[in-house]
Symmetry: C2
Subunit: 235 residues, 2 copies
């Protein structure tokens, strides 16, 4: 095992993790990176993440479909909110989407200096793991969290990916070992465990239960969104 | 359950967790808060945490015993390093100790605006849990971590305390649920799991294996160090 894997549990800790010469896997299970995976898998041409709401809104003038979410809710004036089902609209095949979300797009923008930035979700877990095995770079999983705080669903994905790579990648620090342990204890009833999380409780209040079940489906897709310049495209 | 429990996994995230009106439990299992617990339990009169090495050194002139650790190692010119066995010296009964460590004393100093700050370790786990039950305040466990990063042993203590309070305190956010899950998966072989941690590997390189076993002993003491002004004294 010559390659390492590390987990940054919140973008607020990213200054402690150099991204240079790393393959960064950005994860925001509920729901930004699940949406991106579903969108690219369903034929969306590209997805451009913007941290800023107004910058994203301007992409509309350039012909983009625009998706906007803040605090779990669809932002007025945006074509899409942050539901993976929205991204699977047949009409969006071949189209460009601009997106801004509370946590996920911030995390992507913070990792731009990495050697490669890919998008991870339970939906493409095994494909991401296989790509990590083939990559020459050490892996850093960046959990988007919730407004700087550590969250359960992104951490569980981190644990799942660490487990999938435990024969090829050595843990660089404690969080990979911790998240793997937690995932292994939770995986027999992932939905039951995640339903206790604070974000699920927020989302259920706004009626998005079916999104949650969808976002926890493992290996529904084999496509991986990868950042090229400002855009996420199919790897 | 009207009281809540939360876990701040690193002092670098403490700005996201208001400490006002909280009972803060500071934890640095390897080894600062284990040392403090052992020292106070063994009759040390008070322990004054200083984030700064030179400020701590000045306490020597005032008649304090001084303890200094950086990167796991005893700092030259200090009476003590960061071994709990050092704090159990019969000659220190009734004496005042000044201490500075890489992570633990920084965490204590950052929590000074809390309603109460107490010191937690596996050595006094049940006593700390009982105190939390009696306290009118919501509980915030502050893990000292390692130079800002999340570490395994402090997180495991957090999980153990969440478990001990699961009938009286509701989780305020995801990290309490996550750490409880991890602790429950690890507790049947706590030493075996902790031995995989990065800090244990650092400490074993400098020959401190017996400190680690000691710091994982559960409920060896009933004493709790509490911060009063600048000093930790017996609660």
């Amino acid at each position: 095992m010559s390659k390492t894997i590390d987990v940054c549990l919140s973008p607020e800790l990213l200054h402690l993790y150099p991204v240079e010469n790393k393959l960064v896997v950005v994860v925001d299970i509920l729901r930004a990176t699940s949406c991106m995976t579903a969108g690219i898998a369903n034929g969306v041409k590209s997805i451009t993440p913007k941290a800023d709401l107004e910058e994203c809104r301007k992409l509309k003038e350039k012909g983009y479909i625009i998706a906007g979410e803040r605090n779990g809710k669809h932002v007025e004036g945006f074509d899409l909110g942050n539901s993976p089902f929205g991204y699977m609209n047949e009409e969006y095949k071949g189209k460009k989407i601009g997106v801004t979300t509370t946590n996920g797009t911030v995390a992507i923008n913070k990792s731009k200096n990495a050697s490669e930035v890919i998008i991870g979700s339970f939906l493409n877990l095994s494909a991401v793991a296989e790509h990590c095995k083939k990559s020459p770079y050490d892996v850093l999983i960046l959990c988007a969290g919730w407004k700087g705080k550590v969250n359960m669903e992104d951490s569980l994905f981190a644990g799942a990916l660490v487990e999938a790579l435990n024969e090829t990648h050595k843990s660089a620090c404690d969080p990979p070992l911790m998240m793997e342990k937690m995932y292994q204890a939770a995986k027999s009833d992932l939905l039951g465990f995640v339903q206790k999380s604070s974000h699920v409780s927020r989302l259920q209040k706004i009626g998005i239960g079916k999104d949650i079940e969808f976002c926890l489906e493992i290996d529904k897709y084999t496509e991986i969104p990868v950042l090229r310049g400002e855009e996420l495209i199919k790897l």
